[in-house]
């Protein structure tokens, strides 16, 4: 059975207006923007407290992100769940859902997964330092013209462009 051809992506301008409208609604209704990193930070704190409760209870950083009602009680957990639902529904509707390990044609699956973990570690560390990620600080901060957000975005693109000249081989 051949899978149906995937529908192509929407134009960046349409997606930008849709995303901007969603971001505006988020600020209008909740007073804050959209994010993602915060959920993974909270999740890490909860998992650490299951595995090493005493270490976590004494950790000045993780302690802040343990909540009485658990990591799924926060607004960002619900928002990230929404991202997942929206992405799943959208990709199924447009026939773009595919089980795979996405990688460059000359990269083995194992290499790709090792670099995915490595990139994830840098991202977890970086988003903690910056107190937010591309969505939570870059996009949401950008919408309220936050000075820190633009410093973040410039550093993100400069470092990304620079390093990707060396990591190009992984992807093409």
């Amino acid at each position: 059975m051949t899978k149906p051809t995937p529908r192509n992506f929407l134009s960046p301008l349409i997606v930008g207006f849709g995303l901007g409208g969603t971001l505006y609604l988020s600020f209008l209704l909740t007073g804050h923007g959209l994010g993602a990193y915060g959920f993974f930070r909270d999740l890490t704190a909860s998992m650490a407290s299951w595995v090493k409760p005493f270490w976590t209870a004494e950790n000045t950083f993780l302690l802040t992100f343990l909540y009485e009602d658990g990591p799924l009680s926060t607004w960002i957990a619900w928002e990230v769940a929404g991202i997942g639902v929206g992405a799943l529904a959208g990709s199924l509707a447009a026939h773009r859902f595919r089980f795979k390990i996405e990688r460059g044609p000359r990269t083995s699956s194992a290499t790709r997964l090792v670099f995915a973990v490595f990139g994830g570690v840098l991202t977890g560390l970086g988003a903690t330092l910056a107190r937010g990620c591309t969505s939570g600080l870059g996009l949401s901060g950008g919408a309220v013209l936050s000075a820190g957000a633009f410093v973040f975005l410039v550093a993100f693109f400069l470092a990304g462009v620079l390093v990707s000249t060396f990591s190009k081989r992984l992807w093409r």
């Binding site: 992506f9 997606v15 207006f17 995303l19 901007g20 409208g21 971001l23 600020f27 209008l28 209704l29 909740t30 007073g31 804050h32 994010g35 990193y37 890490t44 704190a45 998992m47 950790n59 607004w75 619900w78 929404g82 991202i83 997942g84 929206g86 992405a87 959208g90 595919r98 795979k100 390990i101 996405e102 997964l113 995915a116 973990v117 490595f118 990139g119 994830g120 570690v121 977890g124 560390l125 970086g126 988003a127 330092l129 910056a130 107190r131 591309t134 949401s140 309220v144 936050s146 000075a147 410093v151 973040f152 410039v154 993100f156 470092a159 990304g160 462009v161 190009k168 992984l170 992807w171």
Partner: protein
């Protein structure tokens, strides 16, 4: 002043998240190859989507505040820690160049069937744990370059918000204009059908 709401329901926030996920997926931002193609200057989708979204949201927020629909003082504006945010931003840029995602797009990647996104997420948990384990050593960098509370480009430059917005619109326009030259060279924009293999 009726907005923002004092106690927005979690279901409402779930709905906002769904819209966010639908648009990220529809733009192709769940694909690490498409995200990295931006860093290679081959496909300018990320720049176009992000800049359009920022300009649209910022414009709508400014107007809503002007007409008295929204209490601007109640919107969350991060206190800048310039060096910490620059260092963190750079790490996210490198993380995307080698790992292919950022936190939000990794969620989209995972829920569109990409196993590599799960490995990226495991890595992120590891990164947070490294910070937590060495948080004393990271304290200096974490608080480096603290700025004024609620500092914006407008308050920093003493220019009106609408003028800053106009500057961003000009920058976005320039990006759209010049990216066409990059995108017409080489392999060009990554389409959904390029990602099926």
């Amino acid at each position: 002043m009726t907005f923002p709401l004092e106690h927005p329901s979690l279901w409402l926030i779930l709905g906002l998240g769904i819209l966010f996920g639908v648009f990220l997926e529809a733009g192709g931002l769940g694909s690490p190859r498409k995200l990295v193609a931006q860093l290679n200057m081959r496909d300018w989708t990320v720049f176009k989507v992000m800049f359009t979204a920022i300009v649209v949201a910022a414009g709508a927020l400014l107007v809503s505040e002007q007409v008295g629909l929204l209490a601007g003082a109640q919107l969350k504006v991060q206190t800048p820690f310039y060096w910490a945010m620059a260092a963190g931003g750079a790490l996210l840029g490198i993380g995307m160049a080698v790992g292919g995602y950022c936190p939000g797009t990794a969620v989209v990647g995972l829920l569109t069937g990409r196993l590599d996104a799960l490995f990226f997420i495991v890595g992120m948990v590891g990164g947070v744990l490294i910070f937590a384990n060495y948080c004393d050593a990271f304290q200096g960098l974490f608080f480096a370059g603290m700025g004024n509370e609620r500092e914006t480009l407008a308050s920093l430059s003493s220019l009106p918000g609408w003028l800053i917005l106009l500057g961003l619109v000009a920058l976005a326009w320039a990006g759209f204009h010049f990216s066409a030259q990059f995108e017409s060279r080489g392999d060009g924009v990554i389409e959904a059908k390029n990602l099926t293999d």
